[in-house]
């Protein structure tokens, strides 16, 4: 199809006729694939690192700057009132996107990383006691590992790691004391950014709730292909970044369950988060949530783009996305399994995440990524900010292919061709 015939105002719904993703039509909604020497014929398969941006998101950001930009929460003139309304509408949009009880629970941060740090420092640190356990999993991204390690060491608590079984899944049975009163917190990823394994976070929340153990879910990799409902999950905290779900860089979400809001201290102090700045912090009155967690001038443009991305994702439908990326991942997995030098680390059961990771006996992952890159296939090589997992796998790097809504069978073929070429080069 000719992308030039696409008008800007075309709704995304149209690209989703009958529920199934038509990747060619979806791709046409992403300007990057038609503008650039480097991208016109690119198989972009680095989506777990960051996703491309659809026209509707760029347009929303542009509108925010072109039509209604002014200070948020601070002005008495009509433009400022409209700006504040738009910002709060973005919050409402995120609220419904994650099924939150109230918009006071929906906090805009700089990123998933920022969100997790705020919970570790603002919630856990003050309540963590020496000897208590904080549980993470073997498959955490550094962003959901280092902040907990840090507060544990500051408190004399133990960072405990839920190990994986041979199927690449959490081996909960191995650790009998997770759901016990020695546990101060559980923080885990919904979907691993390396393995693609998706954990049953709902079941974990349920067990934790019985023991009143707070749970943080890192949904950074899950949010595009899973409908999130924080009330159904029963989680205490949930985080993700906008930029991995077709939204702008520089903004993220922090959900804090209503009954935890008053247990979290603001970590970042400044404008807009204090009602009365007293001579002592003890007498200082923080603003009501969510404002007390959003020190500094709010990121209007980011929030508006973030909300537009929620519309975009829902217009395609997370279930449809899951089907699409899962099918391509399965096809790729199947083809890759024929290469004797190649070791797949992604569990076959978890391919609906769209993530396929492997390593090669002969060719270093960086060389493979470079050759693929020169062949127009964008993939990621390295430790993926998951060194504890890579250590467990016994490799220093893997190659990761991560699939999104605009990827096609051609992209999968391109991976296989590039791999064959690399094997030839390094034969």
């Amino acid at each position: 199809m000719n992308s030039a015939t696409l008008s800007k105002t075309r709704t995304d719904k149209q690209s989703n006729l009958g529920g199934r993703i038509n990747p060619e039509r979806v791709k046409a909604l992403f300007p990057i694939f038609r503008n650039n020497e480097l991208t016109r014929n690119l198989s972009y398969l680095d989506n777990a690192a960051t996703s491309q941006k659809p026209e509707v998101v760029m347009q929303a950001m542009d509108d925010a700057m072109r039509l209604f930009h002014s200070p948020v929460n601070r002005g008495f003139y009509p433009l400022a009132e409209q700006t504040t309304t738009r910002y709060e509408q973005a919050r409402e949009r995120l609220k419904s996107f994650i099924g939150a009880e109230t918009d006071t629970s929906v906090i805009f941060t700089a990123s998933a990383t920022d969100s997790i740090n705020q919970v570790a420092q603002g919630f856990l640190l003050a309540r963590l006691k020496p000897g208590q356990n904080v549980w993470v999993t073997r498959m955490e991204h550094h962003s959901n590992y280092l902040p907990w390690q840090d507060v544990c060491e500051k408190s004399g608590a133990n960072l405990r790691i839920i190990e994986l079984n041979s199927a690449g899944e959490l081996d909960l049975d191995r650790h009998l004391d997770i759901f016990s009163d020695t546990t101060a917190m559980i923080a885990l990823t919904q979907t691993s950014n390396v393995l693609g394994t998706t954990n049953d976070v709902g079941a974990i929340c349920k067990q934790a709730k019985q023991m009143h153990i707070p749970v943080l879910i890192d949904a950074a990799q899950a949010v595009v292909s899973n409908t999130i409902n924080v009330q159904q999950l029963g989680c205490d905290f949930l985080v993700f970044s906008a930029h991995k779900m077709f939204a702008p860089t520089g903004i993220g979400l922090l959900y804090i369950a209503p009954d935890r809001l008053d247990q979290v201290q603001p970590v970042r102090l400044g404008g807009g988060m204090v009602d009365f700045a007293a001579d002592h912090i003890a007498d200082t009155t923080w603003s009501e949530a969510p404002h007390r967690f959003e020190a500094g001038s709010p990121n209007l443009v980011g929030a508006v783009g973030f909300a537009a991305a929620c519309d975009f994702v829902e217009s395609l439908g997370q279930a449809n996305i899951k089907t699409h990326i899962g099918e391509l991942a399965s096809s790729l997995y199947q083809q890759l399994s024929h290469y004797p030098n190649l070791h797949l680390v992604s569990p076959a059961k978890h391919l609906s995440s769209g993530i396929v990771s492997f390593y090669h006996d002969v060719i270093h992952a960086h060389d493979l990524a470079q050759i693929m890159g020169d062949s127009g296939v964008a993939v990621r090589a390295g430790h993926h900010c998951a060194q504890p997992l890579l250590k467990h796998l016994g490799v220093s790097s893997t190659l990761r292919i991560s699939i999104s809504v605009y990827n096609t069978n051609d992209d999968i073929r391109a991976v296989v061709n590039a791999l064959e070429y690399a094997e030839k080069v390094f034969a």
């Binding site: 960086h366 060389d367 470079q370 020169d374 127009g376 390295g382 490799v395 220093s396 790097s397």
Partner: protein, 141 residues
């Protein structure tokens, strides 16, 4: 499919048949220095022995990407039998060359040319050189 500029025949040759690379310990060498790049998982050791001021033997071992291994291999070839001063000056030239500056380096190292266009790989090239220079600094040559 485009040609992979980076992977020229000479570079691949050094990767596939690295010169002066050993498998066991570098125990016969006077000075041994480790260089690692945790981001990549590259991890090598460079060992050398001096006679007076001259590097009379040099070896390396370890694992890394092709760029890292080929660069280490070329390094050993271009430094063996040379004086410490000369080697240090070449290392400094390499650093500048790889950063894109217009300086001369021995022909033997020119197959690394393409790496200059790939910022993410520069550390791989320099890993062995950094270990060598550190080793020389340590024994004050």
């Amino acid at each position: 499919m485009s040609d992979s500029q980076l992977y020229k025949a000479q570079l691949l040759d050094h990767f596939k048949k690295p010169r002066n690379k050993v498998v066991g310990e570098l125990s016969t060498m006077q000075i041994v220095k480790r260089g690692s790049n945790p981001r990549c998982g590259d991890d090598i050791e460079v060992g050398f022995s001096l006679t007076g001021n001259i590097i009379h033997s040099i070896q390396f071992r370890g694992r890394g990407c092709s760029v890292c291994i080929a660069s280490a291999s070329m390094m050993t070839e271009s430094t063996k039998g040379q004086s410490a001063e000369y080697v240090k000056s070449i290392a400094a030239q390499m650093q500048r060359w790889i950063a894109g500056e217009d300086v001369n380096i021995p022909d033997m190292l020119l197959p690394l040319e393409a790496v200059r266009r790939h910022p993410a790989r520069k550390k791989c090239v320099m890993l062995a050189w950094h270990a060598l220079v550190e080793g020389m600094d340590e024994c004050n040559v």
